[in-house]
């Protein structure tokens, strides 16, 4: 029997959905006699127990402390849980908060560590984690020789959030002594992008230099409107003054944070552009060049002329 632990997270009192994905990641390697415990640190941890009582969870550990994020406290909780339970795996979502505490906790435990893990398997009885390297160009299988405990941060949007409802045992844990060196002072909401909301859009039609000419931009604007999409663009289009800067997707533009469907037409797929959209689940690329990088991240590809495709698409909306 092995102990598995998930560190669930809340932000400002709201449970992070990614916690359920992390639970799903561990249930995927959970053996029949393993025990999966989920710990939550919050001002009112009991308020989150029900949401965490999903399939596969045997125990919820409620740590009543504060809703403020304090890396020192989270690390102390992890160390204490590990000391008490000798888990084989501790997992947390690969979010910005985990970036602060997971590596520090790992060195305090002298555990194994792999971050941004997108796959888990057991090979010859050994845990093997898969992550990407070199800007997603390779995958790497990582193992943890001679480590009793392994700490993992799990990539988000990979595992389906755990669902169902179980009746896990609920344990209360007193917050351990921690020398807390940070103080939460407040929040700064994201900047308003000025009218058009690339960050909030669920469906984006994005155009690149393949569009050729300013008056052609109008044609795609019209198509986007007919399809119910928000029009995005690559940098040269904004640079030319053909679309407002707020439409630009990418490293020096906007992140298509909530996008579910992204159609890129005449966009080559430079790293800088990809930065803003490669996480989108459904990417469709339309490009005359079958070797364009955009195809390497797309779910669907059309090798073809964006004008022909656009003209044809107009007939469907």
């Amino acid at each position: 029997m092995a102990n598995l632990i998930v560190i669930a997270e809340q932000r400002d009192g709201e449970l992070r959905e990614t916690s359920l994905e992390t639970i799903a990641a561990l249930t995927s390697i959970k053996q029949a006699d393993d025990k999966l415990a989920v710990a939550i640190i919050a001002a009112d941890p009991q308020a989150h127990v029900q949401a965490l009582s999903v399939d596969g969870v045997d125990e919820v550990v409620a740590v009543k402390a504060t809703d403020d994020f304090q890396p020192d406290l989270t690390e102390a909780v992890i160390v204490e849980l590990a000391k008490e339970r000798k888990p084989s795996v501790i997992a947390v979502a690969h979010g910005v908060d985990a970036w602060s505490f997971a590596p520090a906790a790992a060195v305090k435990l002298d555990s194994g560590l792999a971050t941004d893990v997108m796959g888990l398997k057991v090979e010859d009885g050994e845990l093997v984690a898969t992550r990407a390297g070199y800007a997603e160009k390779v995958l790497v299988d990582i193992d943890f020789p001679e480590k009793e405990t392994v700490l993992l941060t799990v990539r988000t949007n990979v595992f389906e959030p755990a669902a169902g409802s179980g009746s896990p045992e609920v344990t209360e844990m007193a917050p351990p002594e921690a020398d807390v060196a940070t103080t939460h002072e407040g929040w700064k909401p994201p900047a308003d992008a000025g009218g058009i909301d690339i960050g909030g859009a669920e469906f984006i039609l994005s155009i690149g230099r393949g569009v050729g000419d300013e008056s052609n931009v109008e044609e795609f604007q019209e198509l986007a409107e007919n399809m119910g999409a928000t029009l995005g663009c690559s940098r040269p289009i904004a640079d030319n003054g053909w679309l407002p800067k707020a439409h630009q997707v990418g490293q020096s533009g906007q992140l298509a944070a909530n996008c579910k469907l992204y159609i890129a037409m005449g966009v080559s797929g430079s790293v800088q552009h990809q930065w803003g959209m490669k996480h989108v689940e459904n990417i469709v690329a339309v490009n005359t060049d079958p070797e364009a990088s955009i195809f390497s991240i797309a779910r669907y590809g059309i090798v073809g002329d964006m004008f022909e495709i656009a003209e044809e698409l107009e007939n469907h909306f």
């Binding site: 019209e222 640079d239 003054g241």
Partner: protein, 453 residues
């Protein structure tokens, strides 16, 4: 003192610098002897050769040299590189490369002569690539059309060099999609066009209506087609002049939008479209350079900001309207005016104090913006606003010098690629940490040196 030519001075400088990217930039503008020296710098290590083989900006001469090496990784990269010249591709093919490489060659725009051989390749993927290559000749296309392969049939039906006989054959054996493309092909024989025009399948009639070689009478009939998509395709077709499109009262807004995009429309048609209830119809007509000033004036007051923006971007927009739009409450409309190279001084002046980044970025690109103002824009706190000045062909040297020290690499890269860069600035950029900047700076210096020798 011995006379040192500009080219000699530059080559010494490049050798001392020892930078592969600068060497690549200068290469095409140098004589044979200098090229040999630059070649050593550019292709010094395998790592460097791999980079050059894949670079679309690499000089063709160097790619040709690299094609002489039997390194499989180089071969693959060269076959994919759009800049690889025909003789290099021929050498790659002569080396019996794997099917994947042959497929890249078959799709390459410089493959011309090689396609005859590749059309007989034993890999279907390679033959498909040939059929999709726009430079495939009539004979090659005809030979491939015989194959019983849906993808090849589709490629051939859309191939620019497919002749009437081939298209005829495809019309008889192909499925509806293939026949539709045959009907759209400019080489489609008249008998097939007649069949297509009266087809029961709206897709085929629509494709027929889009055929640029369609006889006028057929097109006029298709303009009356019950299907709005067929009518739309006919309205787009420039085989008839805009003057012949005299009925813009189509019940479908989508069709009227297409009317509004045509040039040389009759005045009455233009007037009706300018008063159309559909925003997009007005948006398109507002951009149309045939629209008379009175109507533009009316459209410049349109409640839809996008229509006003279109007026500002209309090349025929008169100065007084541009001046009025310079005070538009919507920044994107003002940015449209700021982008106008023939905007009156008054309009430009009104925009100089604008705080909006799209407006400032547009002014930065505009050669009509006063030099002192361009200097201010080149120093703006927003890096994207600053970059706009690098695109301005009338930018004063002082402003360009500011950009040569810009902390944002892309701004220096944009500056370095200006064809009119002074030697002074190019020299400075030759030491830039960004490869792309050094490449462009060296290309500039070498081009100038070549014309001076």
């Amino acid at each position: 003192m011995a006379f040192v030519s500009a080219a000699d001075a530059l080559i010494s400088r490049l050798v001392a610098l020892g930078d592969p990217y600068a060497a690549l930039g200068a290469y095409d503008h140098m004589g044979d002897e200098e090229r040999a020296m630059l070649q050593d710098i550019a292709l010094g290590t395998r790592r460097q050769r791999l980079i050059v083989a894949a670079a679309p900006y690499a000089p063709a001469g160097l790619l040709e040299l690299l094609s002489r090496e039997a390194d499989a990784a180089l071969v693959l990269r060269l076959a994919k590189n759009p800049a690889t010249p025909a003789d290099a591709l021929a050498r790659l093919l002569a080396g019996n490369p794997p099917a994947r490489v042959r497929r890249y060659i078959a799709a390459h725009a410089h493959a011309g002569e090689l396609l005859t051989q590749l059309a007989q390749d034993n890999s279907i993927e390679v033959r498909r690539a040939v059929s999709g290559n726009a430079v495939a000749t009539t004979e090659i296309v005809a030979a491939l059309a015989i194959e019983d392969d849906g993808l090849i049939a589709r490629n051939v039906a859309a191939a620019p060099n497919a002749d009437a006989a081939t298209l005829q054959q495809l019309w008889h054996v192909g499925d509806a999609w293939v026949r539709a493309d045959v009907a759209a092909h400019p080489g489609c024989p008249p008998e097939i066009l007649s069949q297509a025009e009266t087809s029961d399948d709206a897709l085929i009639r629509r494709k027929c209506a889009s055929n640029p070689a369609l006889p006028e009478a057929m097109l006029m009939r298709l303009l009356e087609d019950p299907d709005e998509q067929v009518r739309g395709a006919a309205v787009r077709n420039t085989a008839i002049s805009g003057e012949q499109l005299d009925d813009a009262d189509d019940p479908s807004a989508k069709v009227r939008r297409l009317f509004a995009r045509r040039t040389r429309l009759l005045e009455a048609v233009i007037a009706r479209l300018a008063a159309d209830p559909d925003d997009w119809v007005r948006r398109w007509i507002a951009r149309n350079s045939d629209v008379p000033a009175e109507l533009l004036e009316q459209l410049a007051k349109d409640p839809a900001a996008a229509v006003r923006r279109s007026v500002a971007r209309n090349p025929a927009c008169p100065p007084d309207i541009l001046s009025a739009l310079a005070a538009d409450p919507e920044s994107w409309v003002r940015a449209g005016v700021a982008l106008c190279e023939d905007a009156p001084d008054k309009a430009i002046a009104a925009l100089l104090d604008d705080g909006d980044r799209d407006v400032l970025g547009a002014l930065g690109r505009n050669p009509r913006t006063p030099p002192e103002q361009l200097l201010v824009i080149a120093r703006h706190q927003d890096k994207d606003v600053r970059r706009s000045v690098a695109f301005n062909r009338a930018a004063p040297q002082e402003a360009l010098a500011v950009l040569a020290d810009d902390t944002y690499p892309l701004n220096r890269a944009t500056l370095a690629s200006r064809k009119d860069l002074t030697a002074l600035l190019a020299e400075r950029l030759l030491e830039d940490p960004e490869p792309q900047v050094r490449f462009a700076a060296a290309a500039n210096l070498a081009r100038t040196a070549a014309t001076q020798t």
